[in-house]
Amino acid sequence: MEYRFKGHLVEELYKDYRIKEGMKACMNCGVCTAVCPAAEFYKYNPKNIVNIVARKNEDDMEDLLKSDTIWYCGECMSCVTRCPRANAPGLVIMALRKLSMRSGLYMQSEKGRQQYVVVKDLCSNILNYGYCVYPRTFDYETHKEFGPVGKWINDNLDDLHARMGSNLDGDGPGGLRKIPKESLDQLKNIFDVTGATELMEQVLGDAHEEAVKENLTDEEYFMKVYTENDWEKHLNH
């Protein structure tokens, strides 16, 4: 199987500043796994991930980047507080995820393929509205946990925010204001210059390719990836 950085995964990983920050040396004490919420619920063990990264074996690295394992972490950073060697498994995970995406290996795992959802939703929110989360794109149907009050909020969005004193889509300062075009243009430039656009286009492209392979429209593929969950495989039970 061909993929970007083949044969150089370890080398590429170690360029990430989060590896420089997060990989000092592990003494296998287990406090990170002890406190980790993902380790409690998922078949996940941050200590083992750090050990694999430390071994610097190219084949093991490929397996790791293809796996669901690196996608279980919730990035709460509880591991960072406690590690007696000042490692940061949470940061190591972020570096692994980035490499998994850039190499394309993320498409080999169910949880990896979900990156299509977050890249599409969050990047479009940032570029279109200047916010990571924007109420008009937070729909009730796909977020039923928002609750009946959430449905009411969405149904009365403009009135409610006016009552609350927000400045929804308005000019000037205030909550949920319309971000000036100049700022949105600058965010786009930042995306272009720092590689976010490239990453985003790659992920959207990978998803489209996969959708075509599976004979699905982009929307159908989105919903598939959004909901598909082989929970028996993932859960610690």
Partner: protein
């Protein structure tokens, strides 16, 4: 429990917060889900405490949620942050206050990483110039908005109308304090009280007459998990973590939860609704849940703001039992109204948890 042990730890982790002239940046989640909180925060600080809080309308998201969902590279997040710092500098400020906890974590991480690796800071300077033709200066002080309320908690107590006390029994309310993970877990010295016994919310509770509840899963993440929530298939992770916390705090019968991260109260509130619908169980008494409030909402309640101006109608868990415990008057008819009494209908009631 020996409280003196905790007090000594709090004394060790004090941080310098300046007195005035703050550059305020908003939170994507707080302004969307808890708009009343940011409005109240600015009203308290500007009008009740007389502070200068400046908001530059060109500021944007810090990108923190996207960064922690692994959708943008670290360099992108850092450059967006550098742009925010440039706006602060252009506006003539040096005290940076952010409303979101993930933001606070990202700003702190960025500054610390630049300190360790100056070549990365130089690279980001170049990226900012190439993309925006801007130059930045690092803030002299970086604080989270809850640090400001913490700093002025005694001034707020002086203007307090409704202390955190149960008016029927005269006893202090039992308050669970929930700190956002990105406040001090990565850099304990950057949070009041460090990472093990953070003091930023404890200080508020105690200044305002309440009693802090310690329970085994107190330090546990609420479970947001970024991609673990945004992708529906992963949401069980998020719910499970919140569920674990509620199971742990239940025997202590807390009256309310106070939070400083904008995401946490969303999860602590909404997952109670989901747990009730899935299992029939509620954690408050008589089919009610435990209200999970932002610290701005709590500050507003004690200072006598109208609950519906604070935005408490935007929570799923009913706030009314708490209002009654505190002796705060409220008009049930106005709960779901818009401006000038406009009728906006009402949300449906969930089947297994009370919402009024």
């Amino acid at each position: 429990m020996i409280i003196e042990g905790k007090q000594k730890i709090w004394a060790d982790y004090q941080k310098d917060i300046p007195d005035d002239h703050y550059f305020y940046v908003r939170s994507c989640i707080r302004q969307a889900f808890w708009p009343g909180s940011e409005v109240t925060f600015l009203d308290i600080t500007r009008n009740k405490l007389g502070k200068d809080f400046y908001e530059n309308p060109y500021h944007t998201t810090c990108g923190g949620i996207a960064y922690h969902s692994d959708t943008i590279p670290q360099e992108t997040a850092m450059t967006i942050i550098a742009r925010q710092f440039a706006l602060m500098h252009e506006s003539g400020y040096e005290n940076y206050v952010c409303s979101c906890i993930t933001s606070f974590g990202c700003y702190t991480e960025t500054l610390e990483t630049w300190h360790e690796y100056p070549e990365l800071e130089a690279k980001i300077r170049q990226y900012l110039w190439d993309s925006c033709k801007k130059e930045f200066a690092k803030p002299k002080y970086l604080a989270h908005a809850s640090d400001i309320i913490y700093k002025f908690r005694f001034e707020i107590a002086k203007q307090m109308k409704f202390p955190l006390v149960n008016v029927k029994t005269g006893k202090p309310l039992k308050v669970v304090e929930h700190i956002g993970c990105h406040y001090s877990k990565m850099f304990p010295s950057k949070g009041f009280g460090g990472a093990e016994y953070p003091h930023v919310l404890v200080g508020m509770i105690e200044a305002w007459g309440g009693e802090v509840v310690d329970y085994p899963e107190r330090r546990q993440c609420c479970g947001f998990g970024f991609r673990q929530y945004f992708v529906q298939a992963n949401r069980g992770y998020s719910e499970s973590n919140t569920h674990k916390k509620f199971e742990s705090m239940e025997p202590y019968e807390p009256d309310m939860i106070i939070t400083n991260c904008p995401g946490c109260p969303y999860f602590l509130d909404r997952w109670q609704y989901v747990i009730a619908e899935q299992t029939g169980k509620t954690y408050g008494k008589n089919g009610y849940g435990i209200p999970a409030l932002t610290y701005e909402e709590v500050a507003g309640l004690v200072m006598g703001y109208d609950p519906w101006d604070l935005g408490l109608q935007m929570h799923q868990v009913a706030i009314e039992p708490l209002l009654e415990k505190m002796g705060i008057p409220y008009d049930p008819k106005k709960k779901y109204q818009g401006l000038n009494g406009k009728d906006l209908g009402q949300p449906m009631c969930p089947s297994c948890i009370k919402s009024v």
